[in-house]
């Protein structure tokens, strides 16, 4: 057994990583729904989920159980093969795309093996292209679901979805070209390293400043690609019942749901990596005290959870919340006590914080913006975003060329 593990170390590590990432992503998805409902509720002066568990924290669990135990009828007249294939395709592609994201710069040395955070090898030369390839196929899940249901509203949803995807895919790809030109590579790790040339500048060295136009186009196109508000025309509930997933129930619906939230996480990862320095700290490298920021945040948040938990109205909350708070505080204390661990978690900490910010922006937009009309959507994509992203590519290439010609930069 031991020799087998040694001989196939790479395979075993990858399998373990896949299982771990799957667990983390699915849990994160579940709590993303809680986060979304809570934030939108507070924006609309409501409480949001608060009955199931303290602060409604067990609501995702209840939802999951509900998804599993609902009746799962197959409507008459559906195209069986495609009907079952569509949610599978959507979920599989969404989960594949997140497997291509690197989550940290340095490998962990465990059992004599360098283990990188993230499933794909860190020297994947076509990193971003592979990601686009996977997300480009993601539209089939929605389009085919709409078609296979053999029903009016889903068909309209599927049609809208494919038209929207075709329109915004172009902008999505073009807006990244500027970043690729600046990094000179498709490799996600190299793209982050290219933003680390001016570590003493911190946040000012990131791609978002020279590429602000590209970021604008990329983020809007990415939101459109994930079918989120204000681009959620494929599932516009006021017009199309539930759009492409009208005829899906139970866990098949949950698969679409998970796919959508997973793509939200992927897009947030991509935004952070391409434009916001990935795992780089926003502070200048010489500010060593910022390395204690993760601990400071964790400890203060943990203490707040303990304080909040002690005066919570239910007994269950009074037990669970302080326990949770104590665990978070302990984690923060561990980081302070072990400098090596603290150094290691800096990268992942910043990347996760940026991802959280983008997820919040997603929810924020949902709480703020009304849905586009269909013709507005098309006009916006083709007449504004696409020309802007092309202008961005041209300007960026000219600036890089000028730098090479006159200032003799590499």
């Amino acid at each position: 057994m031991n020799s087998f593990l040694k001989a196939n170390a790479e395979l075993v590590i990858t399998l373990v990583k896949i299982v771990l990432l799957l667990f983390i992503v699915l849990t994160a998805n579940a709590y993303l729904t809680w986060f979304e409902r809570k934030v939108v509720a507070h924006m609309q002066s409501r409480w949001g989920p608060h009955r199931v568990g303290p602060h409604g924290l067990l609501q995702p669990l209840a939802d999951g159980v509900k998804f599993l135990f609902k009746e799962d009828p197959t409507p008459a007249g559906v195209d069986k093969l495609v009907y079952y294939l569509a949610p599978l395709l959507a979920l599989a592609l969404a989960l594949t795309s997140i497997a291509l994201i690197p989550f940290g710069p340095e490998p962990v040395r465990l059992f004599g093996q360098d283990i990188y955070l993230g499933i794909a090898p860190p020297d994947l030369n076509i990193g971003i292209l592979a990601l686009f390839a996977v997300t480009a196929l993601g539209v089939y899940g929605v389009a085919l679901a709409g078609w296979a249901s053999n029903s009016k509203y889903p068909l309209l949803g599927g049609l809208r979805s494919s038209a929207q995807m075709i329109s915004y895919e172009l902008t999505l790809t073009m807006s990244v070209v500027g970043v690729l030109l600046m990094a000179g590579s498709f490799n996600l790790k190299k793209i982050i390293e290219a933003q680390a040339h001016h570590l003493q500048w911190g946040i000012l060295g990131w791609n978002v400043w020279p590429q602000i136009l590209g970021f604008f186009c990329f983020f809007i196109a990415a939101v459109a690609e994930t079918n989120r508000v204000p681009f959620d025309l494929p599932e516009a509930e006021s017009e199309l019942v539930a759009g492409f997933h009208t005829e899906y129930s139970s866990f098949k619906f949950a698969m679409f749901f998970i796919a959508e939230y997973t793509s939200m996480i992927t897009v947030s990862c991509l935004c952070s990596i391409l434009f916001f320095g990935g795992w780089l700290s926003p502070f200048p490298a010489s500010w060593l005290f910022t390395h204690y920021l993760p601990s400071a945040i964790l400890i203060s948040f943990g203490l707040w959870v303990i304080w909040d938990g002690i005066r919570y109205e239910t007994i269950f909350g009074r037990i669970i919340l302080p326990g949770l708070g104590a665990a978070i505080t302990a984690l923060g204390v561990v980081f302070v006590l072990l400098p090596k661990v603290n150094e290691f978690i800096q990268g992942p900490f910043w990347l996760l914080s940026k991802i959280l910010v983008f997820l919040f922006v997603y929810v924020w937009m949902r709480g703020t913006l009304p849905r586009f009309r269909y013709d507005q959507l098309m006009a916006f994509g083709w007449k504004l975003l696409l020309p802007l992203s092309i202008v961005n590519v041209i300007v960026t290439s000219f600036v890089i060329l000028a730098k090479m010609q006159w200032w003799g930069a590499k």
Binding site: L129, A130, A133, L137, W147, G158, L159, I166, E169, F186
Partner: protein, 167 residues
């Protein structure tokens, strides 16, 4: 049999099965899906040859963009199940002849070849992104620009045809 050879045969089989299914399927959507399988299997073959860029572009352009358009149009026209008519005699006899000739040609080529076929991963200079862009924008820049001109003409033609009904 090495691992890469096994992957090669798996992908090749997938491509052939997809291509046959594309013809045999009765519903246009099923045919389009089969074509997507062929495209992805081809991308896998390119990847096996070390042409990472071409593989990714194959999926993005053919799998992602063109096939989405196919599916979109099939859904928009709400095309139903096709009726399979019996093969016309005019097409049948020469077609069969062509199939036999092509199969014989391929078999003869395989039988005559003495070198082993390269199916292994080989990070070639030509297949890299840099190599491809050097070829397109230096060596073959005029054919490349001519092709883009041709595509532009096609786009303009499509726009004119679409506009005609309005006026």
């Amino acid at each position: 049999m090495t691992a890469s050879l096994a992957v090669f045969f798996a992908l090749a089989a997938l491509a052939v099965i997809g291509a046959v299914s594309l013809i045999v399927q009765k519903h246009p959507i099923h045919s389009a899906l089969s074509l997507i399988v062929v495209m992805i299997a081809l991308a896998g073959l390119y990847l096996l040859l070390g042409a990472e860029f071409v593989a990714a572009v194959q999926i993005i352009v053919y799998g992602g963009a063109i096939m989405v358009l196919f599916v979109f149009v099939i859904m928009l026209l709400n095309a139903g199940v096709e009726e399979h008519t019996s093969i016309s005699k005019m097409a049948g006899a020469p077609g069969l002849l062509l199939v036999v000739a092509l199969a014989g040609f391929v078999a003869a080529t395989i039988a005559r070849s003495t070198e082993s076929v390269e199916t292994t991963l080989e990070t070639g200079e030509i297949a890299s992104t840099l190599g491809i862009s050097n070829m397109i924008f230096k060596e073959f820049v005029y054919p490349f620009e001519l092709t883009s001109f041709l595509i532009l003409v096609a786009v303009l033609g499509a726009t004119v045809l679409a506009q005609r009904e309005k006026s």
